[in-house]
């Protein structure tokens, strides 16, 4: 088991590098990606038994190159059968790399692979799937299980994404400098979505989904190592660490959601909190401010309160005001309303919610009703709070949220009588 875990860690770190080396040498990102998957599978079987090769990276590249050669040949044969021009493959000489060529490349291609997987022409679902396979080294079956869809559906998303990349004729290189910042934003958002998919999972059949948080953190860590000076990369990593620190406390044994104020803070992961806070403090002093850093700062203020009553709400409110300026959205305003209520009293929060209502962007969103219910409850208007909790319970499409909201409504009903 130990050897297996060690081999798996190594494989998943090497996967995008091997893919980069192959794509750089042969082009055809889509076919290279298949070849690397096959090489990973072979390694996952062989390495734990026979030991990790002396030059694991070279081993992977060699085996993947052979698989790629097989693919090119069968593709050529297919094309010949169809009597079409076989213009796909590079010269035969490229197929069998000489032993000297197996040396790991000087350049870490992980970032290039990541940019390609998170290309804006792909749908978010495809970006996520391709990133987890090509950069994370997960199999299609593992990704399908984590996202609760049939393997065939996930395979289709991956092959469609690769088809798009092939059709777009994108070169295997980093995006040009003027586009780089925007493209990095897409990469970070994809990692954030992967994290969230795992973080919001409750218990039972969803346990495997929880591993997605670890994978997102691992990938964010990799990007941070490659781009140590980027404040938003560090901000995202800090946000994920500071949020993940609370994961064990956010659900009960039976999968019920526990709100932040009621969580057992002794179960928060202090090592993650320390790492997140240290990273964030370093970053805030030297990088330009961005939304991930501010969200991380909000998470840090929550995490540093030993008891819910000790939460520094005025500071959280100031941070939400900052976040709203940097990246305005109705959801940010909704969260600010909670901070306003906690810092200045429930009525001030309800007044802010009223302005949201008239804008109507959140109309029909259960979170608006849930927040309003919470603030009405704080204000002592239990009958109105109960109605809002019930409205939110009807609107949510999440089973654990519905259960929580119904239980709040029921508690107020009995308190009322």
């Amino acid at each position: 088991m130990r050897a297996e875990a060690r081999a798996e860690d190594l494989l998943r770190r090497l996967a995008p590098q091997a893919l980069g080396a192959l794509a750089r040498r042969y082009g055809h990102f889509d076919m290279c990606e298949d070849a690397v998957q096959e090489a990973l599978l072979e390694a996952a079987i062989q390495w734990p038994v026979q030991g990790i090769p002396e030059r694991p990276q070279g081993w992977l590249i060699t085996v993947a190159s052979r698989r790629l050669t097989d693919q090119f040949r069968s593709e050529q044969a297919r094309r010949r059968r169809e009597a079409t021009v076989a213009a796909l493959a590079p010269p035969e000489a490229c197929f069998a790399p000489s032993p000297g060529e197996d040396a790991p490349p000087d350049q870490d291609d992980t970032l290039t692979v990541l940019f390609l997987c998170c290309h804006p022409a792909l749908s978010p679902a495809s970006q996520i799937a391709l990133t987890l396979r090509a950069v994370g080294g997960l199999t299609t079956a593992e990704i399908a299980r984590a996202f609760l869809v049939p393997e065939g559906t996930m395979a289709q998303r991956i092959s469609r994404a690769k088809g798009r990349i092939r059709a777009s004729g994108l070169p295997f290189s980093l995006p040009p400098e003027p586009e780089r910042a925007d493209r990095l934003r897409v990469v970070l958002h994809t990692l954030y979505l992967i994290f969230n998919e795992g973080y919001t999972a409750t218990t039972g059949p969803d346990l495997q989904r929880g591993e997605l948080t670890g994978e997102a953190i691992r990938l964010a860590r990799t990007v941070h190592q490659l781009l140590p000076d980027d404040g938003e990369v560090a901000g995202l990593l800090a946000l994920l660490l500071l949020t993940d620190a609370r994961r064990a406390a956010r659900t009960s044994a039976d999968g019920a959601l526990i709100p932040l104020a009621d969580q057992d803070r002794a179960r928060w992961n202090q090592a993650s909190i320390r790492e997140g806070v240290a990273l964030l403090s370093r970053t805030l002093t030297c990088a330009p401010l961005g939304p991930y850093q501010v969200q991380a700062a909000i998470a840090a203020v929550h995490d540093e309160a030993a008891r819910a009553e000790e939460t520094d709400w005025p500071q959280i409110l100031a941070l939400y005001q900052l976040l709203e300026r940097l990246s305005p959205s109705p959801i940010v305003t909704l969260n600010r309303a909670v901070a306003v209520a906690m810092a200045r009293g429930p009525q001030a929060g309800l007044d802010l919610l009223a302005t949201l209502d008239t804008e109507g962007q959140l109309a029909g969103n259960h979170r608006l009703d849930a927040v309003r219910a919470h603030l009405l409850e704080l204000a002592g208007d239990y009958a109105a709070a109960r109605n809002r909790y019930r409205a939110a319970a009807r609107r949510t499409t999440s089973l654990p949220e519905r259960r929580y909201l119904e239980s709040r409504a029921a508690r107020l009903a009995s308190a009322d009588e």
Binding site: T153, T251, E401
Partner: protein, 120 residues
């Protein structure tokens, strides 16, 4: 978000599918299925047997009662479903609108409950 697209039939839809226009309707359905498969949006789906094959099961005061039907006296009945995963709710209604039953009878689009829960 995953959605169930509930397909409703009435006595007329059967005639439409097997009548003169049937081939056209089947082709529309096949094309849509292929599109959903290739896009990675299709999660699953089944067609149900005629409602006359239905058994209705009830337990009252511990007593089991199984009855046949309901039969076709109902004007509309649930005839099958698709499960799709879409980026936006508008996409789910767009797919439903293109399923032939939308013009012959009706389609219902209902979100499927998730087992995840957001931050509270």
């Amino acid at each position: 978000m995953k959605y169930m697209l509930m397909i409703y039939d009435n006595p007329g839809t059967r005639e439409a599918f097997f009548g003169e226009e049937g081939k056209v309707l089947m082709a529309e359905m096949d094309a849509l299925m292929q599109e959903l498969t290739e896009s990675g949006e299709l999660i699953g789906g089944e067609a149900l047997a005629d409602p006359s094959n239905t058994k209705t099961v009830r337990v009252r005061d511990g007593v089991l009662a199984i009855t046949d039907g309901p039969f076709a006296e109902a004007k509309e009945h649930f005839g099958g479903y698709l499960i799709v995963e879409c980026e936006r709710p508008e996409r789910a209604t767009e797919i439903a609108a293109r399923w032939p039953n939308a013009k012959l009878c009706a389609m219902e689009v209902r979100p499927i409950m998730e087992r995840s829960g957001g931050e509270l």
